[in-house]
Symmetry: C2
Subunit: 342 residues, 2 copies
């Protein structure tokens, strides 16, 4: 096991003191053993270090024992690229196309017709009901295992239109470093995503090191089915059980984790309630948890979008960040690298 | 960390060989390092040993890597006493009584009137709707944290009518040993209960060593609420979100764990689907998971009930156990002790 960075051993204390001294000198060079080498030394990085230190140092009012430390991460736009359209939606359209190849009648009705023609405006015109229909057709009517296989196969071949790389490589290296550091410091690291729980589970472990039972997401109804031949399966029904977005995020956290998180990373207005839940505990004030928003302000290396975006809109969140002392992570200024391996 | 018992080190192998040799000789004395000292050597104990060995031995077709080993336990009647009535129901009645002390009008209507009079037959006559009303009145209208405090306080003082001990001491010592052994062997140990998730979470960690995030249970709806003064809470609404019983158990397992279990312990017909899900995987046959039913056949030390019981009825399960090769654990014959500490 790697040596925890902040945990209270004498050696770690010395290292921590060094790192924090460096971190408080803005723009200082990263120390040799910097656990966040892809982060420029700045306010966001310091806020992360400070929050971890507060949580793991015994004897302080904010100390949390190792088994109870919780960090939550949104996925789309926080851990991986969500532009020009949510990856799961691209998956749905690809799958619809494949299904329509076998059954052309599928493409005769809206919104499937618009989706197959690549007319996203037409799809959006169908509203939530239309989107739900596309998701139902492409995501239900099979077992969980079969769905998992379909997603895994798709992820192995699909490529992002701009970066021409598999989607699972378009993850943010700085966030991988934070997740690794948090695990080393005794935090349970969870994904809390508006995306489909089973969709994200198909890649969460190899991609982020997040095990299946630590993925909280939107959930479709399933049914237990015993089959001839002595096997059984969970069958996916075309109905939504829970939407893990907005106020659904703290509800999902309560259900799956059962604790208020100590650190929450998001990037859009859909993450507001998750950050509120994290930072407005019974001990409100400076001692409560840390909330952070990734601000996509780097149109050169990734994308620049916020208030006007249809995907990952960050608007109301700006005002709340200022009022609640949440940290803004500037992709352009805080991140020395965006993606792993390049 | 304790030395795993079955994991493939040379020393463990030698120990395993010794233990298993002893275990296959029925009624043999437990070896000195027996990880299940409260179990008489018999078919159930041997089935547990064999299933663990199959799962943790590298190179066999049934080998499962450590991060993926899953065992699930029902709670009422499998981990703790459920007679003469489910503990959570006793809690609800006690709380109703306390509430009626402050607001006597509560006791004017059925089924609350019957419940306060101790007339369980009258309560049952109100059917599911009546029971749901009692649960709604006693379990909702407060935050998760407040509910947790209420349960914790109740558990600290309430005593079982027959044994005159706190409910959290009326847990089965043999099952604690199995849970400990499974953890040592790299299994994730989960509770999958028809009881309320938050009710069980209030004692699962100190009582069983099962953390909050590994309690799957029936779930009431909650709502995220921001409060004046900069705090927030999850507020319990008087509505059911999911019933984790019967076919709801494999559905809950899919949602929370995301994997088919390798071992499932239950005691009633409400656990049938959980055992089916565990033992009828894609690789159906002798290599699939192990299912076990605790059979309450010990009226002297605990209770004797099965086919005719209103609580924890085990009826259809007998036929399925025979057909599916599930193990029956005879409380009377297989368990040398029932409760911890005496």
């Amino acid at each position: 096991m790697t040596q925890p960075f902040f945990t209270l051993t004498r050696r770690a204390l010395a290292a921590t003191a060094l790192t924090l001294a460096a971190a408080t000198a803005a723009e200082a060079q990263a120390p040799v053993n910097d656990p966040l080498p892809s982060w420029r030394d700045g306010a966001a990085k310091r806020a992360i270090f400070t929050a971890i230190r507060r949580t793991v140092r015994q004897g302080t009012p904010d100390y949390v024992p190792p088994g109870q430390r919780v960090a939550v991460f949104d996925n789309d736009g926080t851990l991986w690229v969500e532009q020009p359209v949510y990856t799961q939606f691209t998956f749905a359209i690809d799958r619809l196309r494949e299904m329509a190849g076998r059954d052309p009648s599928l493409g005769e009705r809206e919104p499937m017709k618009a989706a197959l023609a690549g007319d996203m405006r037409g799809v959006m015109a169908s509203g939530e009901k239309g989107l739900a229909e596309i998701i139902a057709i492409t995501h239900a009517g099979m077992s969980q295992d079969a769905f998992n296989d379909i997603v895994t196969r798709w992820l192995a071949t699909a490529r992002h239109p701009r970066f021409n790389r598999p989607y699972t490589q378009l993850i943010y290296q700085p966030m991988l470093e934070v997740m690794r550091l948090l695990r080393r410091e005794g935090f349970a690291v969870w994904i809390v995503t508006g995306g489909g729980q089973e969709f994200v589970r198909a890649f969460s472990e190899p991609t982020y090191g997040v095990t299946l039972d630590r993925v909280v997401g939107s959930i479709g109804k399933t049914e237990f089915r015993l089959q001839a031949g002595g096997t059984s399966e969970l069958f996916r029904l075309p109905a939504i059980e829970a939407i893990d977005d907005g106020p659904g995020k703290p509800v999902g956290i309560g259900r799956f984790i059962g604790r208020r998180p100590h650190m929450a990373f998001g990037n859009s207005d859909g993450d507001i309630e998750m950050l509120e839940f994290t930072t407005t505990g019974p001990r409100a004030g400076p001692g409560s948890g840390l909330g952070l928003f990734v601000h996509h302000d780097d149109g050169v290396r990734e994308y620049a979008y916020d208030r006007e975006s249809h995907i990952g809109k960050l608007d109301r969140g700006f005002g709340l960040a200022a009022r609640n002392n949440w940290s803004l992570i500037s992709m352009k200024n805080d991140w020395l690298r965006i993606f792993p391996g390049g």
